[in-house]
Amino acid sequence: MMPVMQSPRSLEKPTMHYCPGCSHGIAHRVVAEVIDELGLEGNTIGVSSVGCSYNNYLYFTFDMQQAAHGRAPAVATGIKRVHPERTVFTYQGDGDLAAIGTAEIIHAAARGEKITTIFINNTTYGMTSGQMAPTTLAGQVTTTSPAGRNTSTQGYPIRMSEVLAQLEGAVFIERVSMHDVNHIIQAKRAIKKAFRVQMAGLGFSMVEVLSTCPTNWGLTPIKAVGWLEKNMMEYYKLGNLKGKDLEV
């Protein structure tokens, strides 16, 4: 029979502070569902980062630490080395992970740190009001690329999943999207596998989640998912980049 669907146990009940239509809320729920389904609620320590999700420790029911901008993988490393038997994950945005925290994510992956990273890529700095991110697409208008990202002076967007997939220590890397129901279902599958990879002690795992930022993109939530599908998915190809055949 049809299951009763409700808010996952690992998610607190208060309303989240995100803007209407923001993918963060979906990603939070999916992560919480995965943790519930894997029976990890009492065993998980999460790391919040800097960006719109800076205080998502308020939204989960398990232990969490809040990290400085970009440093979540280092903080998670510290936690995991103290509690190797716990499940430790970071939840980071694109400014956090792909700009100021590039060194930390690369080295956590290179060390094969047994942590999982949920990487929210919405091509913009949401919290500071829509500045250009390392993942901002060529030509994309942001508050610091008002004429559109000019690749000759502002460089090219970074495909972090492809970068990290090259590292031996990174064993599972997948890019997913949260723009519609079918993709959310696929995304959850990938996130679940990423956690399983950690539980099996295989190495570093990351899921890059293409997400919307309707507010800073200046679009309605519905138009935002359309923009993601049309523009982001072309540059950031969905799919598994590493660890597709891992049996976990």
Binding site: E41, G42, N43, T44, I45, V47, S48, Y54, N55, Y57, L58, F60, T61, F62, D63, M64, Q65, Q66, A67, A68, R71, A74, V75, A76, T77, G78, I79, K80, R81, V82, H83, R86, A103, E104, I106, H107
Partner: protein
């Protein structure tokens, strides 16, 4: 039986951390403290601990943040330029109110500076360093024995007050070898760490560790709590050594290596009939304000000798509060003031020029 060994200062710090129950080290190489990492790279695994060479000082201090938040006794060590990089994490640790021990084997600056001994990070340790209103307990060891004693104590203080404790050694103390006597057993302060992120085990409410308070009222509450804690520490944790200050014509304030040089000067001065006292702060913060204030009542003049351009002298002057003249003598760039230079300065101040 306590063991007595001849050991390099940096290695004393490392061994002391192990004996204090520290089992997690995160660091990044920099001269003149690299022997700490070299030592712990084999010693930590031997005692079942974790040694991790991070990708940067920034990563190392943030690993400390994670591990300490997870309930462990943690150490990171560096030297001046590396300590500057750690300031971000230190401020976060202060805001999150978690313990951490940070060793600074100081070299000379500014910038990349040089690798010779200095005390020019005094301001950074006791006046700030990172952003926000916070304090570090700053301990200034004098010899190998104190490197051991104060490192052990640093972990206890950090746990007791849930804050950063910095050990302010200098390049010479780190590099030199000296006899040290290790106790058979340490009895670490048993701190309540029920706040740590250890996984709820479904047995308790979640713990979270953060330093962000968007609500100004909440943030002021945190600051008030921190300041109250700092006042308690100023009451209870001041440490200093006073030597021959009774009836001294001049009292010299100096810490660490500078104080050792002054020790020699005291003997040289005594041979010339000049009585020199020494007030040696062991805690740079909390600063021995009362001790210096009392001395100002008894002596005519004070002199601060430092391996910098004059930093601690400001605190000495605040403690003396204008009642007596406070002079300064120091050298920079890694050049150490010689005993003769200091003696000449003392004679000049006392109007005892012999030439």
């Amino acid at each position: 039986m306590p063991e007595k060994v001849l050991m390099k200062g940096n290695e004393v710090i490392a061994e002391a951390a192990i004996r204090a129950g520290c089992r997690h080290y995160f660091g990044y190489p920099i001269t003149p403290q690299s022997e700490i990492a070299n030592y712990l790279a084999w010693r930590m695994p031997a005692v079942g601990g974790v040694f991790l060479q991070a990708e940067s000082e920034i990563a190392a201090i943030n690993m400390v943040y994670g591990a300490s938040g997870a309930g462990a006794r943690v150490l990171t060590t560096s030297s001046s330029p590396g300590i500057s990089l750690k300031q971000e994490g230190i401020s976060y640790i202060a805001g999150a109110e978690i313990p951490a021990v940070i060793v600074n084997v100081m070299r000379c600056g500014p910038g990349l500076g040089g690798i010779m001994p200095a005390q020019s990070d005094y301001f950074q340790a006791v006046k700030g360093g990172g952003h926000g209103d916070y304090r570090n307990i700053a301990l200034a060891p004098y010899n190998a024995q104190e490197l051991y004693e104060l490192t052990v104590k640093a972990f206890d203080l950090a746990d007791k007050y849930r804050m950063t404790v910095m050990i302010m050694a200098d390049g010479a103390l780190g590099q030199m070898m000296e006899t040290v006597e290790f106790r058979d057993e340490e009895k670490p302060f048993e701190a309540d760490k029920s706040w740590a992120t250890t996984g709820t085990g479904m047995k308790r409410k979640k713990n979270y560790i953060t330093s962000i308070y968007i609500d100004p009222e909440e943030l002021e509450k945190l600051n008030n709590r921190l300041q109250a804690k700092y006042r308690t520490i100023e009451e209870n944790e001041v440490m200093y050594e006073e030597r021959d200050c009774e009836g001294a014509e001049i009292v010299v304030c100096a810490f660490g290596l500078a104080a050792r040089i002054v020790r020699n000067v005291m003997d040289m001065a005594a041979a010339e009939g000049i009585k020199v006292g020494l007030l040696r702060p062991v805690t740079l913060w909390p600063f021995p304000v009362k001790a210096i204030s009392d001395i100002a009542e008894k002596t005519d003049v004070l002199l601060s000798v430092e391996l910098n351009a004059g930093q601690m002298v400001e605190d000495v002057r605040l403690a003396v509060n204008g009642r007596k003249p406070v002079h300064f003598y120091g050298r920079t760039g890694g050049i150490l003031p010689t005993q003769n230079e200091i003696l000449e300065e003392i004679k000049r101040i006392l109007g005892r020029g012999n030439k």
